[in-house]
């Protein structure tokens, strides 16, 4: 039985040193937040509280510009969040997925409509893998925003079949330019992007950088379940693309992007769940019915206690995935599968409880609870459902599925 020991620590040593030792002694990386990460969190939270207050986020969902490009510029360039993963030599912060995950948590808390996941994580991970220094420098500076052209549900582990074809270059095209045609549906964070990274089939398979403003590129906004991360469908009709990677390097780049996307989306879901729990607890302390605070009813307290337990479990999984990615640990596939499954489930759970326990006000358009429900449900499909991530454990953890050919058990 595991239960807390409250007297095993002493005052010696610095927190950071002792934390590292504790982690090393167990063979697992530190799952805590460092002082640097906490400082970064505070800065991001202050910005988002100021610029992505619930009423403003709700109002923006019904405007033409559902992404807040001003807020994104402040986050990306002024706070440097676009360049967290990018080396200092290219103008980035040279930080790691640990720090990037903390920013994702904060975005989850605010449901802020910024393309951080699509640009600073997914497209950046692809560009890092492909070694596209030109794009990375622009991303780090905040002068470009990028998106990977894959459907949001694409899960790590299996590179999705490309739906874009590489055609022959046209007369006058500079050397190396390819002409791309085809359609990709359900992109995230592509609407505010300047550069689209498009996986395309041809000889060979490749990942191409396409300027979103160039001729032959059409991005159609989709009316999306998640109003704070609007999807779009991409149609390319002979659009010019610069090859960023070809062959296996391109497949590796797409795979790395999906893995990073799943891991950081898990941290975003963790932040979302935590915020929903906080809002609900605060409301139940204040709301009175039957002449007592609703939060004093044991039936509700137990539900929130269980949810809090779920959040603490999910946090450990999210931290482990971020730490594994940061260290290039071979356990990344298991870690990401665990994190995306745990955090995806807890985000939906928390956002559903948030609406139910707020009662009628939670069902209104005015209250932000629906933003979280929509984001949580949509994110649970993004980069692989919880079920598909657990299913991947069948081979990652050697727990094979029943042999369908063997017929029913006992038969």
């Amino acid at each position: 039985m595991t239960q807390a020991t409250h007297d095993t620590h002493d005052a010696s040593g610095t927190g950071a040193t002792r934390g590292t030792q504790a982690a090393a002694s167990a063979g697992l990386p530190s799952l805590l937040y460092s002082d640097t990460e906490n400082e970064l969190r505070a800065a991001v939270r202050a910005l988002l509280q100021d610029r992505a207050a619930p009423a403003a986020v709700i109002a923006r969902t019904e405007t033409a510009e559902t992404y807040d490009t001003g807020l994104w510029k402040a986050l990306a360039a002024d706070l440097g969040c676009a360049g967290l993963l990018i080396p200092e030599s290219l103008g980035g912060a040279g930080a790691s997925y640990r720090e990037a995950a903390v920013v994702a948590e904060e975005i989850g808390r605010s449901a802020g409509p910024v393309p951080y996941l699509g640009s600073a994580i997914v497209a950046t991970a692809a560009a890092l893998s492909a070694g596209d220094d030109e794009l990375l420098a622009d991303l780090a500076a905040g002068t470009a925003t990028a998106a990977l052209a894959v459907p949001f549900p694409a899960a790590p582990g299996a590179v999705p079949a490309a739906t874009v074809r590489v055609g022959a270059p046209r007369d006058g095209d500079p050397a190396g330019v390819a002409r791309l045609s085809g359609t990709v549906t359900g992109l995230i964070d592509a609407l505010p992007a300047d550069v689209l990274l498009v996986p395309a089939d041809g000889v060979p398979y490749g990942l191409y950088a396409v300027s979103a403003a160039s001729p032959g590129v059409t991005l159609t906004p989709v009316v999306s379940l998640d109003m704070t991360r609007q999807l779009s469908d991409l149609t390319l009709d002979g659009a010019a693309g610069r090859p960023a990677a070809t062959g296996q390097a391109a497949e590796r780049a797409v795979g790395a992007a999906l893995t990073a996307g799943a891991a950081m989306l898990a941290s975003e879901q963790l932040g979302l769940a935590e915020r929903c729990l906080e809002m609900t607890v605060a409301y139940l302390k204040e709301r009175r019915q039957f002449a007592r605070p609703v939060g004093s009813f044991q039936a509700l307290k137990h539900r929130l206690a269980d949810l809090w337990v779920g959040v603490t479990q999910a946090r450990a999984a999210a931290r482990y995935a971020a730490a594994c990615l940061a260290a290039g640990d071979p356990d990344v596939p298991v870690a990401v599968a665990l994190a995306k499954a745990a955090c995806g489930d807890v985000a939906i759970w928390a956002s559903q409880e948030c609406i139910q326990l707020h009662g009628g006000i939670g069902f209104t358009w005015e209250h932000p609870a629906h933003l979280y429900l929509k984001r949580a449900k949509s994110a649970s499909i993004g980069f692989g459902t919880s079920g598909s991530h657990r299913a991947s454990l069948a081979w990652l953890a050697d727990l094979p599925a029943p042999d369908a050919a063997a017929g029913p058990r006992g038969g």
């Binding site: 927190g15 934390g19 697992l28 007592r292 307290k301 999984a317 665990l338 454990l393």
Partner: protein
């Protein structure tokens, strides 16, 4: 600066004792006390007297008033020399609950009398807290302690009542005992705490057979048991404060070594891999869920250990216990179903008193039954949820009807 992991190479720059100093002390002690030449108990008593039993305890009481983390270096040095230990797994309640309570609330005389034989294992301790009518609501307990009238000036007490769910009562020399001394005040105020000599007249220990067929626990009947006032721990009427102190120490340490991957689900995973004929699609989905949840719980436990190591004790301990109980129950239930016909058999219903409970050494049926207790013992899952809701989430307390009513007037 002191280091918790024993990397120091000599006396610290500020003159404090380092792990290396302690290793030197152990080597010096071993030079004068050859474990091969003297008896086990004699060796352990001498180790206690040398301040090398638990270095975080005060000098003269088996320690040197040092940080607890330094104990690891001492234990490792003794283990490396092949010295006999005090078998801590046999005296869990003594080490984990009685000793800290005696240290915090006992008199100097009580500390001198009890701590040495407690640590050496000569005297086993048990805990007489729960009663048939006082489980989760421990403060409603009814075992009466009545002060003797007349007699000498120090006086004494006579105890009458019944306690239950007592591990080790049949081998214990002493018990931590909470009693009701004043029924006329509200329940939290009228309690007094004692050490009860389990060999005293009127103490009767009966095994309490559980659903697994064996008896890990006991019922203890106290019928006119005399306890001298010198064995009272804490002031008369302050038993609840002492008991709360004891319960704060009721813990199963997160321990020195991390659980490996699959730690809690190894049997089920092995059965799945070894017997393809047992697999079904429904069971596969459950197994993947349980495997993932077990691994996430392991990571959460590791995160808790890391928090404790840097001095950020978090409330996640309650979460860990809740999750552990649920997973143990679901995994063992899964195992019974996976086993199919073998799951219909049970290894042994014989009434016995196990010395040690090894959850994983027995068949799936035993694990399934024993796991039902995990969400009851050491704080029910419902009470843990109350604790999380009220102390972590700070939700308003339950409306209480029993706080200001004299104990004798409470409905029961």
């Amino acid at each position: 600066m002191l280091t918790g992991t024993g990397t120091g190479t000599g006396t610290g720059t500020d003159g404090s004792i380092t792990a290396e100093d302690l290793r030197g002390q152990v080597r010096g002690f071993l030079a004068g006390h050859d474990p091969a030449a003297i008896g086990r108990l004699e060796f352990l008593r001498a180790r206690f007297d040398a301040g090398l039993a638990w270095v975080h305890y005060p000098a003269g009481l088996g320690g040197q008033g040092l940080p607890r983390a330094l104990q690891q270096a001492v234990d490792a040095e003794f283990a490396a020399a092949g010295a006999p230990g005090n078998q801590p797994e046999r005296i869990v309640i003594g080490l984990g609950m009685a000793a800290p309570t005696i240290l915090a609330f006992g008199t100097d005389e009580q500390k001198r009398r009890w701590l040495r034989p407690l640590w050496t294992g000569e005297e086993v301790w048990c805990q007489l807290f729960s009663e048939p009518g006082a489980g989760s609501d421990l403060a409603s307990l009814a075992t009466r302690a009545v002060r003797d009238t007349g007699g000498d000036s120090t006086g004494g007490w006579t105890i009458t009542g019944q306690k239950v769910w007592t591990s080790s009562a049949h081998v214990a020399r002493w018990a931590l005992l909470v009693t009701r001394t004043d029924p006329d005040v509200p329940k939290h105020k009228g309690m007094t705490y004692f050490a009860c000599d389990m060999t005293a007249p009127g103490v009767e220990v009966r095994p309490l057979r559980q659903i697994t067929g064996e008896a890990e626990f006991n019922e203890v009947f106290l019928t006119g048991v005399p306890i001298p006032d010198s064995d009272r721990i804490g002031a008369v009427g302050e038993g609840w404060q002492v008991a709360t102190g004891t319960l704060m120490n009721e813990r199963v340490a997160i321990g020195g070594s991390a659980i490996p991957r699959e730690g809690g689900i190894a049997n089920a995973a092995a059965a799945w891999r070894e017997q393809p004929g047992l697999r079904t699609a429904g069971l596969h989905d459950r197994l993947l869920r349980l495997w993932a949840d077990t691994e996430v719980a392991r990571l959460a436990g590791e995160r808790l250990r890391q928090q404790l190591a840097v001095g950020q004790p978090g409330p996640e301990g309650s979460a860990a216990k809740l999750v552990f109980a649920r997973l143990n129950q679901e995994i063992s239930a899964f195992e019974v179903e996976l086993a199919g016909e073998a799951g219909l058999r049970y290894d042994d219903w014989t009434m016995r008193r196990p010395d040690e409970v090894n959850f994983y050494a027995r068949d799936v049926g035993y694990r399934y039954l024993r796991a039902r207790g995990n969400s009851i013992e050491g704080g029910t899952s419902e009470i843990l949820r109350n604790i999380i809701a009220e102390r972590v989430l700070r939700l308003p307390p339950e409306i209480r009807l029993d706080k200001d009513v004299p104990w004798k007037d409470l409905p029961r």
